[in-house]
């Protein structure tokens, strides 16, 4: 079976920290979750942002289903590999405006359309009332915004989700619901995968099987 995503010696330095960088290799198989673990400041978020092509690497190779990532335009890549930062980002307007926003972009127009029914289904799965859709996004709590950010990228039907601590703002039950949904999402579609960062052991225990990549920052030799 071909790897869904493979990165080899992907290297990126940390801004502001003299001579420190992250350099890792790993393989993400289809239908699986790869968890990035390591102490704070080890470069987990840097690695995730580099995989989202939001940071330029200083070396290494990345392949999506055997195809070099440089063969993809940046917007093509980001459409296939969706990234959610640790601090959920909401934009002005209602919550539904926020869910619709990515579908108004040139990269998605004519290719994807907003599926309201699907959004409502996932809202319910994450214990969010449908009435929330009309609410101003600025009034959302951190936990609500985190769940909305997850639903928003799943609606975009990517192949890979890069999730930076997706449960950081959630309490016990909601953590479990979110992890269940992530696990379900990765299993149900063909050729999907998730790379996520988590410091919470309970999160990982709720997943039946995961691959783990221990990240550590390196210094210049």
């Amino acid at each position: 079976m071909n790897a869904l995503l493979e990165f080899k010696n992907l290297r990126r330095y940390f801004e502001g920290e003299q001579g420190r960088y992250v350099m890792e290799s790993a393989v993400l198989e289809p239908g699986t979750i790869l968890v990035l673990k390591g102490p704070s400041g080890a470069g987990k978020s840097t690695l995730l942002k580099t995989l989202a092509r939001l940071l330029q690497p200083q070396g290494g190779q990345v392949f999506l289903q055997g195809r070099d990532w440089l063969d993809y335009s940046s917007s093509e890549w980001r459409s296939n590999v969706q990234y959610v930062p640790q601090k959920p980002v909401v934009f002005s307007g209602s919550l539904e405006d926020n869910l619709r926003l990515p579908f108004c972009l040139k990269a998605t127009q004519g290719k994807l359309s907003y599926e309201r029914e699907q959004a409502l289904h996932w809202l319910e799965r994450l214990a969010l009332p449908s009435s929330l859709l009309a609410q101003a996004a600025a009034t959302l709590s951190g936990g609500e915004a985190a769940r909305i950010a997850l639903i928003r990228v799943m609606l975009l039907k990517p192949q890979i989700l890069l999730l930076d601590e997706p449960t950081a703002y959630l309490d016990g039950e909601n953590r479990l619901r979110a992890m269940e949904l992530i696990n379900e999402w990765v299993k149900t579609g063909a050729g999907r995968g998730v790379i996520l960062i988590s410091h919470n052991e309970e999160d990982l225990e709720s997943l039946p099987e995961v691959a783990v990549l221990n990240i550590k920052a390196r210094g210049e030799e």
Binding site: S74, S75, L101, L105, K106, A107
Partner: protein, 265 residues
């Protein structure tokens, strides 16, 4: 010497204006502002600069040739563009060249329309018309460009997470910051739009005042002033549009991500 309508200021009368400098100096001394030295130096510089430019302009008006006028305007554009970008500290690149281009383009596009199409002197490149008109456009465009650039970088720095999230959705660099580009352009244009609202009610602008002092009927002076106001509005709009259009790309890598100096790694 005969003067048609305006009251000339003699050298003796000019010397009397020192009274005003003394008043300013007295306030500075009483409040301990420590500005007396700067005030004296500034007054002296202003006198020397204005006297020199008075003689230079008299000479250029007499020559009245594009071979002198164009290099002079370009030199002014260069100085103004450096001034416009001097205090911009958050730029990921040196914006001086983009500033020079936007300032020159806005000055020439609007200036030529005003001088050639609206005022229509003979010859069209009459230095007495062209230099003051171009100078007014430039001064206002310079401030607008500085405001626009500063706002653009401040907005993007303040909304890095939003910009990166938009890029992560697959947005182009333009799509990811279009909201901040709009704010930057409107920020540059705001003083001009405010000026349009209050002109004639709160303020009597310099050009109109100058023409009235020179003996022109106020009814005629306002026509010039109106042309000047709309010309400044057009020039600031063009200048701001060009500067943000040229500058925004420098915030992104060729791969469409924010450059390191703009984002939080």
């Amino acid at each position: 010497m005969a003067h048609s309508g305006y009251i000339p200021i003699s050298y003796w009368q000019l010397t009397l204006s020192v009274i005003l400098v003394l008043i300013t100096g007295l306030i500075s001394a009483l409040l301990g502002l420590g500005m007396i030295k700067s005030l004296l130096w500034g007054t002296l510089r202003a006198f020397i600069q204005l006297t020199l430019i008075g003689y230079i302009l008299t000479y250029i008006f007499k020559l009245n040739t594009l071979l002198v006028i164009i290099p002079l305007v370009l030199l002014q554009c260069y100085i103004a563009s450096r001034e416009a970008t001097r205090r911009i500290t958050k730029a990921p690149h040196n914006p001086a060249l983009a500033s020079f281009f936007s300032l020159t383009a806005s000055t020439f596009i609007v200036g030529i329309i005003v001088v050639v199409v609206i005022i229509g002197p003979h010859p069209w490149y009459q230095a007495q018309v062209l230099i003051p008109i171009f100078g007014m456009i430039m001064g206002n465009s310079m401030n607008a460009i500085a405001l626009s650039l500063d706002r653009l970088y401040s907005e993007v720095h303040a909304h890095v997470e939003q910009v990166e999230q938009m890029l992560a959705f697959g947005a182009s660099p333009w799509e990811s910051i279009v909201e901040y580009l709009r704010k930057a352009v409107s920020s540059g244009m705001l003083p001009t739009i405010n000026g349009l609202m209050i002109v004639g009610i709160v303020s009597l602008p310099g050009m109109m005042t100058g023409q009235i002092l020179a003996g022109m009927s106020p009814a005629l002076a306002v026509r010039y002033q109106f042309v000047v106001m709309v010309m400044i509005a057009a020039a600031t709009a063009i200048g701001c549009l060009i500067i943000v259009g040229l500058s925004y790309k420098h915030m992104f890598t060729s791969d469409g991500a924010l450059v390191d100096s703009m984002c939080k790694v």
